[in-house]
Amino acid sequence: MSHKANVWQGTLALMILKTLETLGPLHGYGIARRIEQTSGGVLSLNYGTVYPALLKLEQEGTIESEWGVSDNHRRAKYYQLTRAGRKQLEREARDWQQAQAILAKFLSAEPST
């Protein structure tokens, strides 16, 4: 797997966590859809890729899952944040914003004369 893809994986996990924080318990389809919508269609995402990412988060204990019933009475597997997940989201969001801020400053620096 290339380096880029790894970064992508990392950000995907963060997006999933944020989605679950915002919307509460949600199924895989809903999460994929929400990520796509939030990005304003800029991100084009194979919905299938959220599942390995969800599984990984679950294995790490940041989310947990449960079978439930959807609004339109379909059986679906619902994911929700655990306490550890909330903490991780908080931490990673902060790290991410920091990194972004630094990079933004860096990039906006004027060339010296």
């Binding site: 199924h27 895989g28 389809y29 809903g30 859809r33 194979n46 919905y47 299938g48 890729t49 599942y51 390995p52 599984l55 990984k56 294995q59 790490e60 204990g61 959807s70 339109n72 379909r74 059986r75 679906a76 597997k77």
Partner: protein
């Protein structure tokens, strides 16, 4: 920390899910199904047709199977899964070709088994921690003299001085070797005893199980007569009664109070030159002997370092000590001698280290040959599997995947070989150790345990990887089209593989040749030593040790009267030809070492000289030839003129070849006339004889004899016309009849002593011989395989040749030439390698040039003859090729 924890948790879950795969598969299936339904419903709501909605959902998902696969990769342990399937597949293939499997496993069993056994020896002797608390803090005093290192003995005064440099030491203890006549009731027994300083037990960290150790005041001044017994002696002589504590026992005729009993199985590992193999049974305070001549000058030093002291601190301290000692004791510590402390564990096996390293290296060679052989077999089989492999590649298997599978096969072979090898080693270790010299230090520490098992496992994995490497690499470079095009699936790809296989066989022969050359050199050395002759005639000679210290003989006159009584009794036994008694040591064993000064016109300095006290018939009984002058006679008495008999080495070294007779020498300040010269009876077969002086037992100073006897037992020596060992009982009885309170020791024939003095060499020789033979057999099997392969590959060509009129001998020669080409290559490389490597043997060969051309030629010839045998069968097969069948083979 949390990150690691998370990782562990994730892997644990993955492993758990790996074990319950099917259920999870079903669950994800359901999840995907619900995903698709949700998506389709959304799409329908957005106005798509049913068909388009479904298609769009699938498209957005990115493929059901692909998703499942990615999900599975994340869920379980994919590499474990492939490993398992490789494993199953390899088992199936191996089971299908049992001939190949059996040969490969047998080869590896021999290689790994032999390595395991030798490792057990090396580990037990060199590396196993000593059974003391914190054994890595126990050090022994050593001296480095111009690069040579060895144990260093101190005097009591020096030991006391050493203790004053105490910063790095917790305790510094001294000990020395001694023997005691132990009399309990009216039975006497000689036991090995060790005078030790009071803190000796603190150094080792082992304390009496019953009673107490010595008090500091018991080890002060002249010392008090107290003793600690071994558990074994306590059981043997006191029936393990607690009342033994506080009892008096007679040691060398003096009463000692028992203060303690050491725990069962306690072994201080103090190696004894004098009583090799005899366990220590009694400890007494060092102060008792510290001021005496002899023992008091040969104190060995053990120390326990303070916790945390580093070797560098120790060394710094010891260079201070060395400086001080050079100033204070210039006679003992020369300007080039450096005092140091080495770990006790290291010192115990220091002499054996080169031998063991040699053995370990040699057996490593055997394993390499076994690897090459298995690689060879795998490659040969690769030939018939080329089609299968090509087919699987065509179906999409990657090179890496195929290599992994082939490696799995060789790993399974090696692990099976390893398991069998471990069993083989545990069955064979007993006989290996039975071959070992019995006074090998730490013999009891050699056994198979967890560490040896780990070693076996590791070399099995290594062996598997090594032998699987060549075939695996070959498989990835396979040319798919060539093979699939070829009619019989093996016609064209053989060439590079054949070269690889031939290379392996050349390597095998080269390694075998090196091993066989080593073995040849050891055998040549052994023959040379046996031929050298020990300087006496061991045939029909029996010896028996006895001790007089602590008996009722308190003067030279009384001692020699006892000698005469014993000699008279033994001489009257049937078949005894002559009997004599010697004190201070037998040939081929360590004995008394003194100094001598030539008197008269050729006056000299004091020079080192071996020293023995003998009765008149000793030379005849031992079969030491008289060269000139006369032997010791009955007429040499205490009151007659003082005389000595010397050996030829004495004359050569100290009298510059002058006629010795009539010369006067000083031995311990007594002037003696040399009246005879005898042949050199060696103290060690592989060293020139030392100058030695024999004096009549009747003229031996009594106090001096007592000191010698502390180390070297007096010995009855008799020559008989029958098997000497059959007289053992009678000889013991003869001494008992004269005086039941004189303890007797080992009864041994001189043949036995002779072979024991060569035990380590013969052990090494036999092992190298076995390894060399094993290597040669393996290499021959490899050669046989390759030549058979050549014959099979060239069947058609041979058929053409025969059809064109080649005679069977031509074909035979053709194939033989093919084999000999490899053998000559192997021999050539082997000889070159051996020329370099046999230099390592320099210190172990004797009177043999480690590059002796004769041995090189003989070994090379042996290899060529054996290889001809290995080629014979396939070559014969080639001559029987029927051209009609061979040509129709298409």
């Amino acid at each position: 920390m949390t990150r690691i924890w998370k990782l562990i948790r994730a892997w644990f879950r993955r492993f758990a899910s790996f074990l319950r795969k099917s259920r999870h598969d079903a669950e994800f299936e359901a999840e995907l199904e619900s995903h698709l339904q949700l998506h389709v419903e959304d799409n329908l709501r957005a106005g798509m047709t049913v068909e388009a909605a479904r298609r769009d959902a699938l498209l957005k998902l990115g493929g059901v199977e692909q998703t499942k696969e990615k999900y599975r990769d994340q869920r379980d342990l994919p590499f474990l899964e492939t490993a398992l399937s490789d494993f199953r597949f390899a088992l199936r293939t191996l089971r299908k070709s049992h001939g190949f499997t059996a040969v490969a496993i047998l080869t590896l069993t021999l290689g790994i088994g032999a390595n395991t056994a030798i490792f057990a020896v090396v580990y037990g002797v060199l590396f196993r921690a000593l059974p003391f608390p914190e054994p890595d803090r126990i050090f022994e005093l050593a001296e480095m003299d111009q690069g040579q290192s060895g144990e260093m003995d101190l005097t009591a005064t020096q030991l006391q001085r050493l203790r004053e440099f105490g910063q790095v030491f917790e305790h510094v203890a001294g000990w020395t070797d001694a023997g005691f006549n132990l009399a309990v009731g009216n039975a006497a027994e000689h036991v090995r005893g060790t005078p030790v300083s009071a803190d000796y037990f603190q150094v080792l960290g082992v304390h009496p199980a019953v009673g107490r150790e010595f008090l500091p005041e018991e080890d002060r001044g002249g010392g008090q007569r107290v003793a600690i017994l071994s558990h074994a002696l306590w059981k043997r002589r006191f029936g393990a009664e607690l009342s033994a504590i506080g009892r008096k026992i007679l040691l060398n005729g003096e009463a000692y109070t028992v203060t303690g009993i050491m725990p069962a199985g306690f072994d201080p590992y103090g190696y004894s030159d004098i009583n090799p193999g005899l366990p220590v049974d009694i400890w007494v305070p060092l102060a008792l002997v510290a001021k005496t001549a002899g023992s008091g000058e040969n104190i060995e030093v053990l120390a326990r370092l303070k916790p945390g002291v580093k070797q560098s601190q120790l060394d710094a301290q010891m260079s201070l000590v060395t400086k001080q000692f050079r100033k204070e004791f210039p006679g003992d510590v020369g300007p080039k001698t450096r005092m140091s402390f080495r770990s006790y564990q290291f010192m115990l096996a220091a002499d054996l280290r080169p031998f063991l390293v040699l053995l370990f290296g040699s057996i490593g060679f055997v394993l390499l040959i076994a690897c090459a052989n298995v690689a060879n077999l795998l490659l040969a089989r690769g030939g018939s599997r080329a089609r299968e492999i090509a087919a699987r590649m065509a179906l999409g298997a990657t090179g890496g995947r195929l290599s992994r599978q082939l490696l799995t096969e060789s790993l399974i072979l090696a692990l099976a070989g390893g398991a069998l090898g471990f069993a083989f080693a545990s069955a064979g270790l007993g006989s290996l150790l039975a071959m070992a010299p019995f006074d090998l230090p730490r013999l009891n520490d050699i056994h198979l345990d967890g560490w040896v098992f780990v070693f076996t496992f590791l070399i099995s994995v290594l062996t598997g990887s090594l032998s699987g490497l060549a075939p695996a690499i070959w498989a990835t470079n396979i040319d798919l089209n060539e093979i699939l095009k070829a009619a019989d699936g093996r016609a064209t790809t053989g060439a590079d593989r054949a070269k690889l296989r031939q290379g392996l066989v050349i390597g095998e022969f080269a390694l075998s040749l090196v091993l066989l050359t080593g073995a040849g050199l050891m055998i040549a050395t052994f023959i040379k030593l046996m031929r050298t002759g020990p300087g006496f005639d061991p045939n029909g000679v029996l010896t028996m040790q006895f001790w007089l210290n602590g008996s009722k003989y308190h003067s030279t006159q009384e001692v020699t009267a006892f000698y005469r009584a014993v000699e008279a009794r033994i001489a009257s036994l049937p078949s005894v030809e002559s009997v004599g008694i010697v004190a201070a040591g037998l040939p081929l064993e360590r004995g008394g070492h003194s100094r001598v000064r030539i008197a008269g016109p050729h006056q000299s300095e004091w020079r080192p000289c071996d020293y023995r006290e003998a009765s008149p018939n000793y030379f005849h009984a031992m079969g030491i030839a008289l060269r000139s002058g006369r032997s010791i006679l009955e007429t040499d008495t205490e009151n007659s003129s003082q005389v000595a008999v010397v050996n030829e080495a004495f004359v050569q070294n100290y009298l510059a070849g002058r006629s010795a007779l009539g010369e006067h020498v000083f031995l311990d300040n007594v002037s003696r006339e040399i009246v005879g010269v005898v042949a050199d009876a060696k103290s060690s077969l592989d060293r020139p004889a030392l100058p030695t002086a024999f004096i009549p037992a009747t003229q031996a100073p009594y106090e001096g004899s007592k000191i010698w006897e502390d180390w070297f037992p007096r010995t009855v020596v008799l020559r008989s016309s029958v098997d000497p060992l059959s007289l053992g009982r009678a000889v013991r009885q003869a001494v008992e009849t004269v005086d039941a309170l004189v303890p007797t020791g080992a009864v041994r024939s001189m043949d036995e002593i002779l072979s024991r003095s060569l035990a380590l060499r013969s052990f090494l020789m036999r092992l190298l011989g076995i390894f060399g033979g094993l290597a040669m057999v393996l290499a021959s099997v490899g050669l046989y395989g390759v030549i058979s392969f050549v014959v099979a590959r060239r069947t058609r060509e041979i058929g053409v040749r025969i059809a064109l009129g080649a005679r069977p001998t031509d074909v035979f020669r053709l194939i033989l030439a093919e084999g000999l080409k490899l053998v000559f290559g192997g021999v050539l490389i082997g000889v070159l390698a051996a020329l370099v490597l046999t230099r390592l043997l320099e210190s172990m060969v004797y009177a043999v040039n480690p590059r002796d051309p004769l041995i090189f030629v003989l070994v090379s010839l042996l290899m060529i003859v054996v290889s001809l045998l290995a080629c014979y069968v396939p070559a014969r097969r080639a001559t029987r090729v029927d051209p009609v069948i061979a040509l129709r083979y298409e």
